[in-house]
């Protein structure tokens, strides 16, 4: 069983992995257009590497094993040993997806084994990767791990000064806090064990205090490890410990190091020297003879005292060379180190910019702020009654601040749509390959903000629409050229705010919808009758009907007639609408209009009887009084003459069956929606109001004409009207009553 602390860390790992995978995908796509973008290559490598590293910490062997191979290939790409080409990128994208699948499967159930399909896919990818990791070598070698010689840049010659052992020697001293920082030293050693063979391990309990002084949460142990492994370099071993880099002191000696190195190691370490020496012998790193030699050397150096000093400085100056020469430090290691510093810096900057918060915490905060606003209003009311001017002033300052807090809190839930849009780069790339069409994606309005819950739910409908545009919308290249269009097709995604709602557009410059064909198909399916006259809009709307598809052949992507139906349902679930604008031969644009749930809108408050209603302020054109004469004239009809134009109106009092007598001076609020104007007759105009829209919940999901609710300063609830639905309802009511006659 995992304890909860680790479980949380695991969740963080999954979340981070998803982000890293997204970053990896973006970089891969960037790489496709600019194959020698070293930044992108490094970014991909870093992502894979971090996933592997963190995965290892949690013992997620499946991910580690697979990612390790990917990382090897990426490493070769980074070193320029493997050329970047479309084929490789496609393979790496598949690998990315595979890692994603593994991560998701583990996220669903941390103890689950990958299913057969995934496993098979993984093996297939690994085989393909192997081909890349062994370019330039005979295929036989690809099966066996590459011999050590190819990896270790220089192998020091065996001379008198070197140690006979061909094992790596690793000295590990963990910091006291390592356990508190959530790291398990054992996990790293276990992980190391996966890379090669731990020949011998000696535990150093020297730092362990007496029992009464011991803190159970501190780590006092050190380890001396003799490690045997072919085909890895120092960097690889260091990377094992990368995640505890700051919490441990790590010294690695490559095989056949000079005895001096061991001497230095012994000197560096805090433990008793003779004991250490014995330990090293125990480990098998040194032979007895070698140790004696080492100790002699050491003694010699101490004796020679000052004379030795210049020699030592000399040694220091040469250290770099020697290190490289001995395979201690490899040239690429220096690059990696520099790169790592940079990454660390970038990460720091990002960390300071972003904090991860759970959504429900945020909702709770917003609810509390809402309560403060209401309580604040009550306090100001009391203060006004008290006629204490100082108190009044203080409360007014308070309420202003509270409002600022409210705005800020609500803003926290808003996210930019850009992230969702960017995901489509990959989709467009893959699909255009599959369809053998040349298509680019143009993104606009990426900074448009909308509620996080909406952003999450809009992904699927957008996916359908984009695929549809690419499959049905954009023509084959030859046809495009024939029609005088550029060979490259364009799909655009755009988002903007419009009259209190958010519009997301998916467009293409393809063939457009064929009105006649849609109509014919609808006729065939019995959706329309032959003598029906429909507007273009209505005809295009037919493609959202269930089971409707005009594609001649059902392709892998679309044509089954499920997509558009689902799109409309999903969007209606968000209380949004879909419109299609299309011109034959020029292109099609699908407009998704979404309400701003949980957003703040500038509303216009109006009273009908005892109730208050809000409409978005930007829909309100003007307010006019309904004069006595007009009132008399409109007893039966529902329109007035507004400066020469006909203005139909809805009397909300009647429409809502409000009890009580109407005000003597009724007013008309002129609202505009979708290019039309209409009037709403109300009793009272109560002015502008900044409304926090709250969804009405499942209970009222069938209620048309009300899009949400908001809480007034008095604590009462006011309903937010959805003008277009209200008018549609009025239209259908009227047409029914007319047809009945």
């Amino acid at each position: 069983m995992r304890d909860t602390g680790l479980d949380q860390a695991l969740q963080t790992f999954f979340m981070e992995s998803r982000e890293l995978l997204i970053a990896m995908e973006e970089s891969l796509l960037a790489l496709e257009s600019a194959p020698d973008d070293t930044e992108a290559i490094s970014a991909i490598f870093r992502a894979a590497h971090t996933i592997k590293g963190s995965g290892g910490m949690f013992g997620l062997d499946g991910i580690v094993a697979f990612t390790h191979v990917v990382e090897n290939v990426l490493d070769r790409v980074r070193n320029g040993e493997v050329p970047v080409n479309g084929e490789l990128i496609a393979l790496l994208l598949c690998c990315r997806d595979h890692i994603g699948t593994l991560v998701e499967q583990l996220a669903a159930d941390p103890d689950a084994k990958p299913d057969m399909e995934t496993e098979a896919n993984g093996v297939m990818l690994l085989n393909q990767l192997k081909a890349h990791s062994s370019t330039g070598q005979p295929p036989v070698a690809a099966v066996a791990p590459a011999p050590a010689k190819t990896q270790i840049v220089t192998q020091p010659p065996l001379d008198d000064g070197t140690v006979a052992s061909d094992n790596w020697h690793i000295s590990l001293r963990f910091a006291r806090d390592v356990l508190r920082n959530g790291m398990d030293p054992l996990a790293f050693i276990r992980y190391l064990g996966n890379m090669g063979k731990i020949v011998h391990i000696a535990v150093l309990p020297d730092a362990l205090p007496f029992a009464p002084d011991m803190d159970a949460e501190s780590c006092y142990l050190g380890f001396e490890i003799d490690f045997h492994c072919d085909g890895i370099d120092k960097a690889a071993i260091e990377m094992v410990f990368e995640f505890v880099r700051e919490d441990c002191s790590l010294r690695i000696l490559p095989p056949h190091s000079r005895i001096e190195e061991y001497v230095e190691l012994i000197n560096d370490l805090p433990e008793d020297k003779i004991r250490l020496g014995e330990l090293l012998i125990n480990c098998g790193s040194l032979t007895k003879k070698e140790l004696d030699e080492a100790l002699r050397l050491q003694a010699l150096r101490v004796e020679s005292g000052q004379e030795a000093a210049p020699a030592e400085t000399d040694a220091v100056s040469q250290l770099g060379d020697i290190l490289v020469e001995q395979g201690m430090v490899q040239p690429e290691l220096v690059d990696a180190a520099l790169g790592k510093q940079k990454v660390a810096k970038e990460n720091k900057v990002q960390e300071s910019k972003l904090i991860r918060i759970q959504a429900d915490k945020l909702d709770q905060l917003i609810n509390l702020v809402g309560e403060i606003v209401i309580t604040g209003a009550a306090v100001s009311l009391l203060a006004q009654r008290s006629s204490d001017s100082a108190l009044q002033e203080a409360t007014s300052t308070l309420s202003r601040l509270v409002e600022e807090i409210r705005d800020g809190a609500l803003q926290l839930r808003m996210v930019q749509i850009g992230e969702t849009f960017n995901r489509f780069n990959r989709v467009v790339r893959d699909v255009s390959k599959e369809l053998n069409k040349d298509i680019t994606l143009v993104i606009g309005g990426a900074e448009t903000e909308l509620d996080k819950s909406v952003v999450e739910k809009i992904g699927d409908p957008l996916m359908h629409l984009v695929r549809n545009s690419m499959d049905h919308g954009i023509e084959q290249t030859e046809l495009r050229l024939q029609r005088g269009k550029p060979a490259k097709g364009t799909v655009h995604l755009n988002a903007y705010h419009e009259s209190g709602s958010i519009v997301v557009e998916v467009g293409d410059d393809g063939g457009g919808l064929n009105r006649a064909r849609i109509f014919a198909k609808a006729l065939e399916k019995g959706l329309v009758t032959a003598n029906q006259t429909l507007s273009d809009q209505e005809v295009y709307g037919l493609i959202f009907e269930a089971g409707f598809s005009t594609a001649e052949a059902v392709t892998n992507l679309s044509g089954r007639g499920v997509g558009m139906d689902v799109v409309r349902r999903n969007i209606e679930a968000l209380r949004g609408t879909v419109e299609i604008d299309s011109r034959e031969g020029v292109g099609t644009t699908v407009k998704i209009r979404l309400p701003l749930t949980l957003a703040i809108i500038d509303g216009f408050l109006m009273g009908v009887g005892s109730a208050s209603y809000v409409v978005p302020l930007d829909m309100v054109m003007e307010c006019v009084e309904l004069s006595e004469a007009e009132r008399y004239a409109t007893r039966d009809s529902h329109y007035i003459n507004l400066r020469g134009t006909v203005l139909p109106f809805i009397r909300l009092r009647d429409h809502f069956r409000e009890q009580g007598k109407a005000s003597r001076y009724e007013k008309i609020v002129v609202v505009q929606y979708g290019g039309q104007q209409a009037g709403l007759v109300v009793d009272e105009l109560m002015g502008e109001f900044q409304a926090v829209i709250k969804p009405m919940g499942k209970f009222f999901s069938n209620l048309k004409g009300v899009s949400g609710s908001t809480i007034l300063a008095s604590g009462e609830v006011a309903l937010v009207l959805e003008v277009s639905e209200l008018i549609q309802r009025a239209v259908s009511l009227e047409s029914h009553s007319i047809s009945k006659v």
Partner: protein, 181 residues
Amino acid sequence: MNAIVRAEQFAEVANSEEGQDQYLTFLLGGEMFAIPILNIKEIIEYGYLTTVPMMPAFIRGVINLRGGVVPVVDLAVRFARKSGDVTKRTCIVIIEIKSGGEKQDVGVVVDSVSEVLEIPDSEIEPTPSFGAKIRAEFIHGMGKINGNFVIILAVNHVLSIDEMIVVNQASGTELEQLELA
């Protein structure tokens, strides 16, 4: 705000061993009803209710419960009885309902709340097939208290959101027909 009893206080009682056996009794049209206490979040004074147009009569409207909008059901109308007059003792009992994995708070209007009582399972009689003048599926059982019967409500049926949505739809068309007439 105007909470008479907050759920926390109930929770204390509820957690003491057998919360399942405890019921809140209340009066509605002179008749005594009971609801399992575990479903109840809090009880608030009646007031500040906003009517929602185009809804069936048993939905009185919505209230603002600490920043959340909570629908309020008139239980009397739901039981096809006459809605009681609002008095000083009229209360809204906030009940938490689970519907398809989601939790939803719903308020019910009652004439007055009485007390929290323990009714062991042995004291609960099966629902009579008729006679209570309430739809049988609304009744969980008849609890015996001092020789008198109280109707223990099956909250999930009485306040079934799915059913009420259907009723909404039906009443919506009904309303339209009314308007047409």
